[in-house]
Each structure stands twice: as C-alpha cells, then as structure tokens.
Symmetry: C2
Subunit: 794 residues, 2 copies
C-alpha cells in the first residue's frame, strides 16, 4: 500500500494529501484516525487499538474499551484482566516459530517497515517483518453497523513460506449476566452473545432489542478457531498467547467466560505470492441480521460496492473550499480533512441522541458551509424545543425516546446566544432569508424570526441588577458550575456574548426593516458593554465573571485562573473594548496565555478546587477547561483577531491548531493532522514536558469555526445578504494562493497575488476590476474568475 523509495519521514502524505501516513508504531503511539457512518463511528490508532460506538439508540459498544471501574456489587468468576479493544493479526512462521503481529500490538516486534495510513474513507496498516508483509484495511458501509476488514499477507522473501495467520478480535468483558461465544459453521464465523446487565423490569423492555451479539465472520474457510479469551492467551499472555504456540487453535467455546474472536489460517506462500482475507466485525441482534450482513458485504464485490457507496457519502461533505497555498500541509488539511470533520459533526450529530444545544447549533453552523439544507432543518428542529419563556433547553432531543442525560441535566445559561450567532453565519452563507419567515413547528405559529427574537430577549432579561448575565451552573464552560449556582453569580463571557448576539440580531432586524426592534437590541447591547466595562474591566483585561459572593474572578489578584481567554475574544466581537483596551488585552494574552501549541484557555491552571468557581478547577492542570489549549476557545480568539484586522497574529495561532508539519511538533502533539482535537495539553509554564499533547478527541465545536475562519477571514470570501464580499487577510509572508470557493451554486476561482505595486486590495472579476470587492447577485451555475491583488507587507 505504501510506495516508498527513500526511507520515509515520520509522517508523509500521499494521494495529494488525501492520505496521511505514519511510519512508526512507537513514536506517536496514540496517533490514529476515525471513520464513521450514519450509525457508528470507530477511532483506531496506529498500533491496532480501536474504540467503536454504535447507536441503539444510545451509544453502545460491541468490543469493550477504556473504562473507569464501576463500583458494582462483586461480580462472579471475575476476569482479573480487563483487556484492550483491538483488531490484530498474529503471524507465525511455521518453520522458524518466529512471531510478529499487525498492526503492531500485541506482539510489539520491531518492524522492518511500518505504515499507518489515514484516508478519508479507510484506515490501513502495513507491516513488514521476517520477509513477510501483512496489511490490514478497515472501511465502513454508509448505513449499517459493521466493520469491513480486508487483510493481506504476502511473501516478500525468495523462499516458499508456511505461515499461520491468526486474526484476533478481542471483544472484552461483555456482561456479568450472560456472556458466551461459539463458532457457528452455519454463519461462517464466531458469534459472541451477551445480555446487557440490568435490574429493573422496565429496562428489560428498553433493552429487549439491543444488538447484544458481536460477530466475526470470515469469507475464506478457516483452519481452526478459539472463542474464549483466557484459553487463547493462557500463561503466555497477550504478547505471546499459549494457543498460538500450538499447531492448531483449540476450537473451544466460551461459557460465561470472556469472549474473543480468533481464527487461524495455515497458508503456504510461494515467493511473491499474496493472499487476501476479508472479515466482518460488528454487533447484531440475532442470526438473521448476521446472515443478511454476510450476504450483503462479505465478498470482493460487496466490499467494492460498500466502498463506492461510502465515497459517494463523503462527497456530500467535501465542502465549499479547495485551496492551493504555499503551505502544503495546510492545503491537505483544508482540502481533505477539515470539511470531513465538519460534515461528521453535522451529519450524525456526534452520535448522540441529545446533543448539547450549543454544540448542535454550532455544528450546524458548520453545515451551513457543507450542506445548508441540513443546517436549516436543524435550526428548525432546535427552535421547536424552545421553552415558553424564550430560553433554550440544555440539549436538543433528536428522537422521541431520547432524554437529557449527563451534562444536559445541569442548567447552563448560554444556549440562546448561539441562535443569533449561528443563524447569522447561515444566512450570510446561504442567502436563505426565507428561513426567517418559516413557522417553527410546535411554537404556536411563531416564525423563526420571532422565536430567535424571543431567545435574544431572554438573554436581555436574564441579567442581574448590574446588567450582567447570570451564569447559574455554567455557560459555554460546562464545569464552571459554582460561580453562580446560588443564583447571583454572573458570567463576564456570557454578558459579552449576549451583547454580541444582540448586535448580530439587530443587524438582521435592520435588513427586515424592523428598525425599532433593532434599536432596542442595539441599545441593550451597548448597555451590557457599559456594564461590563464598569464591573469587569481589570486594568489590562476583562474578568471572567463575578461569583455568588460578589467576587470578580479571572483578575490580576488571582493566583490561579488569573486571566481567561474567552472574555478577551468576545470583548473584541461585542465591541466592549476600545482601541486602548484592545492593545492591553492582546499583550496580556500574548504574555500570559500563548504557548507554542496555541493560546491556553486560562492561566495559571488551577491546582486546587476553588469552590466559588467550580468543577473546572478540579480538572488536571492543563487538561480540558482547566487551562489547556482548548481549541474551541482558541478559535474564538482567532475569529475575533481577524475581526479586528489582526490577520498575522490570527494566522500564527490558527496554524498552531494543526499538528506538524515538523516532526518535533508532531511527536509532541502525538496526533496526525487529520482532525482538530478538542484540546492540546496546556499548563505550559507549570508542566512544560506534557504541554502540547493532543486529547485525541475529534468531537469539538472547533471544527465549524475553523472552517468559517478559513473561508470568511483568512481567504476573506464571505457571504452577505447581497453576495460574496472579498476581504482576505492572508499571512503577510504568503506571496500567492489560489482557491476554489463554492457559493450559492456558483463557483469562484480565486487567485491571490501579493505585488509590490499594489497599495490596497484590488479585485478583478473575469479580468475586469471591481469598484467594490463584492460580487452581487451571484448566479448559480456560473463560474467566476477572480484575481485578488494584495499589497506587500513589510
């Protein structure tokens, strides 16, 4: 699969950047990639470990992963070794007895060569050792919960070889109620069965249709099998299982023992010969489902059809921007990976049934650039759940049986603010102002415009006597749950965001000739900005909030959590900061928050609980909301920097959001540049050796904003009511760039050139200079050629 002429770099790319390759299984051991379809997702790392989730309708697993011990009653016959989930091949040379494994786990033999490849539609591994080449490839169909595995074993030596190949798919501890496994000749594979544990009779009816079986099916008949993990591993253990030491696996059942799926193929391979093996792995309710999946997929044709279908599916998420800049890795990321991540969020809603309202709205802000009709439907769906007082619920229920769970049972006060913010972006991109007059289902005939206005008014009202927004048990920052839980504390950030939201919505009111309303919202926004300046300006930056006890926090006197990023970003957006304040804030952020991996969300990270701030202060210093480079906050700041024309500063931080390209940075992050993670470890001054490490979480509201910033600010190809405005802020060291931008059905081919004779932005459309950098009345189907000339910057 890899085609290497020179010794490879640590990370390389192929397919014009659509394949990202990692050539060491040990240098970045957590680096991986993810695939998803409409019913499942799987994150697999370079060593062969994998976490998969599917919906039934809540997220469920068919091979068990990292976990925290549940303090249940004591469990009978307990397994003392809770295993990893993974997808492995053991390869044994039957002549020499030498053993290695693909991808790298579990044997961990040093490979002669190794290549892990992330591609948008598949994940592959290739390892060479002992004159053999083993490869594994994983893909998914679009609409069913099943992993398609294509494995190949090749003899790269000059001798005839006899090898045994053992696909080993651990299933893990399924259930203390019932777990078993057996080989089913009639189904052509191993079926592991279980009953999801429960105690209450009502749960029986909820669980009755669960896919409680895990199957592993083979295309090619197998020589032997094992289904019982402790029997397979024995004393030899995972790295050198007892069963692999024997000529043939024991063909045993698991009866209330930990199940596993292991097959054995004894192969004789001539020099150069290779053998392909295909497998299916996944959950099912019953044998009928297993058989149907087998018939549909388990063949070369079935795999090919599934791959075609999946490519067509991803096409829907290819996005509206294709770039060619001096930054090759940026091109790869923006052309192949970033829109894919945005599409993932918006198409499957992160595989939840009750996405947090703020996530749901921002994810669909992202979809405005990918597939606007999906965003439109989502906004209507969300507004249909607006409460009578104009507030938005903490999560949006996606189906009739869904419930608000986990964090969505904790009241947060920010959800309304995302309606004007995200709708504004949607309207600018789509030009679909008709949405505003659409009636919202279940809201008594109210239109979208009226519902959002009510949300905006709710924000205006939910303020204290100082004019600041209550925080209750959290705002955007979920674990900031104790600043205002007694009903008095306020959020500086939310106050700023409310002012910004009111201004955005006022702007939309103006366009609808609702001038009185617009004026009211604008005046409230200014009132909020004044209140913020009165109560939260700390001399060099804005405070994060004021606690129930009236104590401002995120201020210079705080030893920890002295400065937060979000209030500064949103003060730039809301207009609360004047030019003098702005300069001070930017300096403070630069001095106190910026790190080689991006700006941290707050500093110094808290090292002990602060009871008047909340749970975030208990998180590990530098992780997540406690002072990591939390990319969602970082992109707000970048967005706001572009907003005030700080293009070079914004670019510098934006580029830091993507791992690499230099190997040292990649090693530090431990992540491939195939998604923006939720965070990179912060606390740069406190724990420098850990800073920069990726969270490896690809669920994040960041992606939509990064795409937006790229489109509308970096390349400056931004929609507005009348058309497309051109206002790029390319990094000053870029001399040229070309992009293709899809917009309202038209295609814009844009070339940017920085030239010595240019004094200010100049745009030519099909060779004709424009008086204003705005393309009005965009014609769907038309191809526009723009030449954008930019001045040189010293």
């Amino acid at each position: 699969m890899s085609n290497m002429e020179n010794p490879p770099d640590l990370v390389s790319s192929a397919g014009n950047g659509s394949r990202c390759q990692l050539h060491s299984p040990t240098a970045m051991p957590a680096a991986g990639a993810f695939l998803w379809n409409r019913r499942m997702m799987i994150q697999a790392n370079c060593r062969g470990f994998a976490v998969a989730r599917f919906m039934q309708p809540e997220p469920a697993s068919y091979a068990r992963g990292p976990n925290i011990e549940a303090t249940t009653f004591m469990q009978p016959e307990q397994p003392y070794y809770a295993h990893h989930p993974g997808r492995f091949l053991y390869i044994k040379d039957e002549q020499s007895g030498a053993l290695f494994s693909a991808p790298h786990e579990p044997v961990r033999a040093a490979p002669d060569s190794f290549c892990f490849t992330a591609a948008p539609e598949e994940i592959t591994w290739e390892v060479q050792k002992h004159g053999l080449r083993a490869s594994m490839g994983l893909s998914l169909p679009v609409d069913e919960v099943v992993e398609l595995w294509q494995c190949e074993i090749a003899n790269t030596s000059a001798e005839t070889r006899v090898v045994s190949v053992y696909p080993y798919f651990p299933v893990g501890y399924m259930s203390w109620m019932n777990q078993s496994a057996e080989y089913r000749a009639d189904l052509g594979g191993i079926v592991c069965s279980s009953v999801t544990p429960y105690q209450k009779v009502e749960d029986y009816f909820k669980n009755r249709d669960f896919k409680d079986k895990t199957f592993f099916l083979h295309e090619t008949p197998t020589d032997a099998w094992e289904t019982c993990q402790p029997v397979f591993e024995g004393e030899g253990g995972l790295h050198n299982p007892d069963a692999v030491q024997k000529p043939l696996l024991g063909c045993g059942d698991a009866r209330y023992q930990m199940p596993a799926a292991v097959l054995q193929y004894r192969l004789q391979l001539q020099p150069g010969e290779r053998r392909t093996l295909r497998f299916l792995f996944g959950p099912a309710r019953d044998e009928g489902e297993i058989l149907a999946l087998r018939e549909r997929y388990l063949s070369a044709d079935g795999f090919a059809a599934a791959a075609d279908g999946y490519r067509r599916y991803l096409e829907q998420g290819r996005g509206c921007l294709h770039i060619d800049t001096p930054d090759r890795e940026l091109n790869h990321f923006v052309n192949h990976w970033l829109p894919r991540q945005v599409f993932y969020h918006g198409d499957v809603n992160r595989l939840t049934t009750d996405p947090q309202t703020r996530n749901y709205l921002q994810d669909h802000m992202g979809m405005a650039y990918i597939r606007p009709q999906t965003a439109r439907a989502a906004f209507l769906h969300a507004l249909a759940q607006q409460k009578p007082d104009g507030a938005m619920p903490d999560g949006i229920l996606l189906d009739a049986k869904a419930e608000l769970k986990y964090i969505n049972q904790v009241p947060h006060t920010d959800h309304c603010v995302w309606l004007p913010v995200c709708l504004d972006a949607y309207l600018d991109e789509s030009g679909d102002y008709a949405l505003l007059d659409e009636p919202v289902p279940g809201q008594g005939g109210r239109s979208v415009f009226e519902c959002v206005s009510r949300a905006v008014e709710h924000l205006a009202v939910a303020r204290d006597e100082r004019g600041l927004s209550y925080i209750n048990q959290g705002d955007w920052c979920d674990p900031m749950n104790m600043a205002g839980y007694r009903g008095k504390g306020v959020s500086g950030w939310l106050s700023l965001a409310a002012a910004y939201g009111l201004k955005l919505w006022a702007h939309i009111c103006v366009q609808r000739n609702e001038d009185a309303l617009a004026e009211r919202y604008l005046s409230t926004a200014e009132e909020i900005n004044r209140a913020i300046n009165r109560h939260l300006w700390d001399g060099d930056w804005f405070a994060r909030g004021i606690t129930d006890e009236g104590v401002a926090f995120g201020v210079r006197d705080d030893r920890e959590g002295r400065i937060y990023l979000n209030p500064q970003s949103w003060a730039l957006l809301s207009g609360a900061a004047d030019a003098g304040q702005r300069a001070r804030m930017l300096r403070a952020v630069e001095q106190q928050l910026e790190t080689p991996f991006g700006p941290v969300m707050l500093a110094p990270a808290y090292t002990a609980m602060r009871e008047d701030v909340g749970r975030l202060t208990q998180k590990h210093p530098g992780s997540a909301e406690n002072g990591s480079v939390y990319n969602h906050a970082a992109i707000f700041y970048i967005h706001s920097l572009y907003g005030v024309g700080e293009g070079d500063k914004a670019w510098g931080l934006l580029r830091k959001m993507i791992p690499g390209p230099d190997p040292e940075d990649l090693l530090r992050r431990g992540q491939l540049p195939v998604f923006v993670p939720n965070y990179y470890r912060g606390a740069w001054h406190q724990y420098p050796e850990h800073a920069g490490r990726s969270s490896q979480l690809f669920n994040t509201g960041t992606a939509a904003w990064v795409y937006r910033c790229m489109l509308e600010q970096l390349f400056g190809l931004k929609g507005e009511r009348l058309g497309l405005r051109i206002a790029p802020q390319l990094p000053s060291h870029w001399q040229r760039a070309r992009v293709e931008r899809h917009f309202r059905g038209a295609v814009f081919e844009v070339s940017f050139i920085r030239a010595a004779d240019v004094e200010k932005l100049r745009v030519e459309l099909d060779g004709v200079p424009l008086r204003e950098p705005l393309i009005e009345a965009v014609e769907a189907g038309r191809r526009y050629r723009l030449c954008v000339s930019l001045p040189m910057i010293a």
Copy 2:
C-alpha cells in the same frame, strides 16, 4: 514460610488447619482468600491480583479492578489498556539479567517452588526461583483502611547476589477529571491523586471528603521510583517492563496519565542473607492522613501491634463450635474458616450501607451463634424500619445518609418471612426471650413481639384469592422479576415459607401463652399448605409459582426450569408435603438436580428469556440463579433434609459444599476450602466441562445456615427455650467425633461414639445417663462433659 520436606500436594494445610496452602500458581489461577476489617475488605488471588473495597460511605476502590465499560462520552487522552489491579514484586538479577516476579504475575516465570497461604489473619505468597526466595505477606489493621505488606527477599544460593527488587502496585485508571502521581520524599512514598468524576454540583458536596488519593509508603529508603504506568511498562509491557530493563527507574511523575506505584531496591545479598521490606498501601483524603498512618504502622513494631489487634478482633468471631471428626478437612473448615465467614457477614454487613433485608436478617441469624448481642441489635435496627402496614423494606439503611440502591429499588415480597425464621434461631440459641418485650425504636411503643407479629400478619394477608403469596418483582430469588410484576403472579416458594414462618411464630406465641394468636397463625399456615397442595403440586414435586397469566412454572411440562429446588425444601419445612410426596420429591431432586458439586437450584437451566418468569432466565445457563449449585438454596435443602431425618443424604450434600479434599475436585472448583462460595457453576448436563467452577464470591447468606446446620443438626447440639437438646445426625460412617460447644456461657465437651450395643441415642452427663437428651437450666461458666452414644447403621 512454608516448610516442605516432600514435594507438596496441590493443596496442603498447616497450623492445625488454620493455614491453607496452594502450591501452584497456575493450577487454580482464580483461587484466593480474603481479609477484611471494619472499613475495608480485600480479596487477593494466588497470582497476585487483588480487589479491595473500602467504605466512604459507599464502597470505593483505591486500585481499580475488573469492570464493564461505562458508556461515557469519549474520554480525553484515553489509555488503551485497562490494567488489572495487583500487588507485585519484580526481582531482577543484576548480574545475569534474569527476571521473575512474585507472587507469579506479571512475569509468569515457572517457579522452582510456590506457596500461596490463606490464614485467617493474613495472606502470604512465597516463590523460589534462580536461587532467590521472595515472599510477600498481607495483613490489615482492625479499624483503618490500609494494607500492611511485609516482603522478604532471601539469597538461597551459595553466591553473593546483586538484585533489584521492584514492588509494583498498579493503581489503574483513577479518573478522567484529574489523575496524577508523584514521589513524596516528605511522606516517604508515592502519592497518586485524583478527583472522583462527577457533573452535578450536589455531588461535589457528597464527594468532597472522599479519600481520592492512593498512597504507597516504604519503610526502607528506596533507590529509585516510577509513578507513571505507561512510562514504566513501555514497549516491554507488563511482563517485561521497559523501566526494569534499565539500571534505575526514571523517577518520573504522572500528570494526567495512568498512575502506578513502583519502587526499586538494589540489594547485595550474601549467601543466606535476607532483607525485609515493609510497605503501606491504601487510600487517603490528604497528607495528614497519610502521615498518621505512616507513623502508626510503618515499622516492625507497628506491624506487630496491628497483628495483635487483628488477632483479638478475629477472636470475637471464633464461634461456638470446635470439632474433631474423622474428616480432617471438615475440621479445619469448621474450626477456622466457617465462623470467620459468618463473623465477616455479621460484623461488617458485607460492606454495604443498605444490605438487602433478607441478607441482613440471615447474616445476623448467623451472628446469633457468634456474638448474640450484635444479632440482637440488628433485629431491633431492622424492625425500626418496618413499614406501617407491617411490610419490611427491601433494604435496611445502616446510616442516616444511606439510600436504597441497585436491586433494593426493585420490590420483593419475601422480606417479612425472615423475621420469624431468624428470630426463632436467635431465641433458641440465646434464650433471650426478653428481646420479645423490648420496645422497637420509632414504632410507637410496639414491642419486638408485636412488630414481628405484624410482619407475620402481613405475610398472611399478602395472598391472592387462591391463598397463595404474591411475588411482585421477586421473592428470595431477586431476578425472578416478571412472574408477578403485573400484580397477579404468585410464588410457590414464598407461600411455603410463609406457612413455615407462621408455624414458627405460632410456636413462639404458645410459649408466651398467646394461644389464640398461635391458633390463628397455625390455621393460616395450614390453609396455605392446603392451597399449595391444591394449586402447585405437580405430581412429583411442587411448582415454583404461577405467573400473572395463570401459568404454573417449574412443572413437568416445562422444557427448561422444569423443577426448582426451593419449593421442595420448604415444603419439607412447612409440612405441606406428606410422606408420599416427600419420597417423590426427594427422588425427583436426586434425579434432576443433584450433581457431583451439589444440587442445582433449577434444571434444566434456561437458555433463552422466558418473559413470564424474568431476568433470571437471561443469566448464563448454570450461573447464579439460572441453575447453578446456588449454595444458599442448597443449604435450605440440606436443612430441610435434616429436619425430616435424612441425615446421610443431608451430609452427602453438605460435604459437597466445601471444595476438596481430592485434587481433582479442587481443580474443578478452582477455589480453596476457606469459604463457602455464593455458587458453583451448574448446568451439569448442559455444559459438563464448566460445572463445579466456583463463583469466588464469599458474600452469601449460605454461611450462617451452614454453621447452623453443623451445630444444630449434624452435631445436634441445639438450643431451645429450656436448654440444650442433643439430637445428632452424624453420617453413618463416622464411628466417633468430639466437639466443644459453647452455649449460653457454658462449655459442652461432647464425645460421640457409635457402638454396636447401642440401640438408640444415649446421653451421659458427667458420667450420669440422662433420661431425656436435654440439658436444662444451663449454668453459665460450667463445663459439661457429655458422652453421646449412637447406634451403628448398616
């Protein structure tokens, strides 16, 4: 520690049976032992794995164990390898590089000799390899949560040796919120810190005082350490960690990484020289607690004082019976282990805060024989929670903050029945009839007698029009939750138990001259027995119940769950069965339920859900309530067999409850004879190769009943109102036995002799024949010498 002259058996004993030794780390890999104190328990197996729980106030862990994946949101930077909890020493020969570990995990090197020893007050391991002997010993203090480890490394070779010894105590995945570890020179050890994950603000206040730190303290200064599990293990993995390959551990911190406690001692040992190392391992809230534990325990004197204290504690649980029979292993079990298990249940209530009512009452029935004042207080405590209608709640709350959790949120109908059953035993043993007149706190001045009478009357009333007892969502059998959940189904077993309970209570009424009451209860009991015979007699046995739809189950027409054990046992107790029925039932049980490992609870085990019976039918066939040798049910049957004079049959089944003594049986059970487990795997006909395997669960209502059967039925030294009645049912092949029985402050030395010239039971007290085998007016402090002569049995 072991002192072997000949090659050892698989299992041997020392200390007159007070130490049980296992000489292979691989033959019975799950075999282990448990220690507890008033705040914690630890179950450690022969290979070095351990599960520990402590109360804060709900059960918590400080080193993480077997678990089922919790489907949380995705966790950042997740560890892909969820490790076992264990307590290990790696021993590396610095000259040869050879590596082995004690107890056996994780290196799994084949030992030259191995000995795992379970003693009532400590658990020890000893392993010899490469001319070195490593031993580890674990003990607990009485009243604090801390493990005391004494390790010894000895040079048994003729050469001077240089070795590195690495105690490795994995802590596991503590928390996604915050986990870290560092070496603390000031505390003399490693401290791992975490925050128990939560999201709701009210949980912060619940969790605030949790012992969220895990410490590992050394007495002897260490040469190096490591606190980060992935760094320690590296590519080498658990069986051969990277860090052990280097001269010195890296002395690193864990910062939001999986913590572990590893130390290194480089030792030079002359031939015959040995070195002792002491460690403390446990949870703490803060450094103050850690320091206090260090000061109190971490020295030779501290260990010795703790051991003394613990021995004194166990003395309270030594029980009232010491036996000397032809069955040596039985002697060991009854003299050392069985009362210990009973004491464990009753003294710490299985380390729960809301024990199931039936467990709580039966555990304290056991305490009647061990420490009657504890049983007395428990009965009063339970009755204080009786409901206004006479029903008992599903669990007994032990402290003010406790809540009914898990299975105690499912309504069961049997709890009242255990009051007459357990009080009857208590009164017979203690003679404490004054308890009956004691007022019950919080019950409006009602006495114990009145409260229990109300419970008994509740049983009498909670019956349907047929006169049978409703089952609702379960009776004694928790997961029989769907036979009557719609309000109509009835329990055959509970009807029989109600009849038996009414009879027992009527007997107590008579003794209080409450003849009218007695008559009423007796007549209700007979009415129930008649109803049972009318509706549930199936020709050869009694059915288990009748579903909501009116279908009798546990009947000959059932393909699965055809016959249940409990209705037969309790029909013998309640008197529902006449002699003809009895013979039929015993034959049916023998043919359909008995196995080499005891009688299964039902047969055939269910292989698929039966929706009109419930959750038990979904458990794995042969496990737990679905047809295992569920020892609680088995001992009811044994008790009932003794009750009808089937002594030899009862003995045969009773002996099967204890693993061994022959090695084949021990291997099959996989458990040492140091406790009665909750169950042995059943489904003997369905899955013969798995049958007999121990659940390894030592929490079980069985223990109290086994002790009672031994005392009152096998040796026939049973209390009654007036004194001690002698009615032994020794196995017919025993020619003699001697026992010492403590009873109401007196000591009875009893020798049993079977002699040819004896026609019926003959008892001599201090050489004087008794007219009736009853010692009346027992004098506390007196030593009675009884000679009991028994006829020979053909």
